[in-house]
Symmetry: C2
Subunit: 142 residues, 2 copies
Amino acid sequence: MAHQTVRHAPGLPDDSRAAVAEPTPSCPVEITLAALRGRWTTLVVRELLKGEHTFTQLAQALPALSDKVLTDRLAQLADSGVLVRDRRPGWPPRTSYRLTPRGRRLGPVLQALWDWGAAEGDTDWGAAKDDSGRGAAEGDSG
Amino acid sequence: MAHQTVRHAPGLPDDSRAAVAEPTPSCPVEITLAALRGRWTTLVVRELLKGEHTFTQLAQALPALSDKVLTDRLAQLADSGVLVRDRRPGWPPRTSYRLTPRGRRLGPVLQALWDWGAAEGDTDWGAAKDDSGRGAAEGDSG
DNA sequence: CAGCATCCATTCAGATACTG
DNA sequence: CAGTATCTGAATGGATGCTG
């Protein structure tokens, strides 16, 4: 009864959630993509990575972002545990938003996204039908 | 201070594209998110990280994925330089899909997404604040 | 100031039918 | 087998107006 580890490709997690046959909210990748989903979301996170912001400060940093969508994004990010609202009593109302520890850990995630998108040595794919001479599944250290 | 660089938060890239005020396709983060956008996309990439697949093999690995959406995703990923089609002459037609080197580099990106979504020590946000009411469990909605 | 409610245009996913 | 074409419903983004 060798409950031997399932053989999986290098770089793929050895976790049952890595074997899902359809998109499911419990998959960690889906969780992260759900947190970052939608237009403007990463830009809002970027602003908050710089520090605490009020609603108005965010709106000013992203002038083309409508109130409604900003509200949506802040609610979504709060639900995802990325940021917390800090509402102050008095008038005029002031609400500050800042990242949670979990939210700050999006830094490396955004960095990974940035790095892949910024890799230009890769953009030869249009002419690079040949460069993939080796199989995709080979013991290639990716 | 002759040519002081713009002050930016730690972990934020020192690149003009990091300062965009609205979502733009030239932003590296947007490029990556565009490649991964849409339902099923990451699962298709995951399958291909295991090795070359035909259209049918992909369809079998992801039974709930319709032909049309699979076609869409494959075209999208090909446009993004993530995979290449290898069409063989003869009958019946056989088309293989495999990742490009660029596509294989999505491995670390997916890993970063996985890691963030899988981090459970982070779930202190529910108790972090008088956040009132919303004790969002991980990814139950979405 | 910081939002919520409502409406509308666009995009997207999925189903179905057809083709080289 | 491996797609393409077309259609519908759902989700999304954005504009506008109102409120505590």
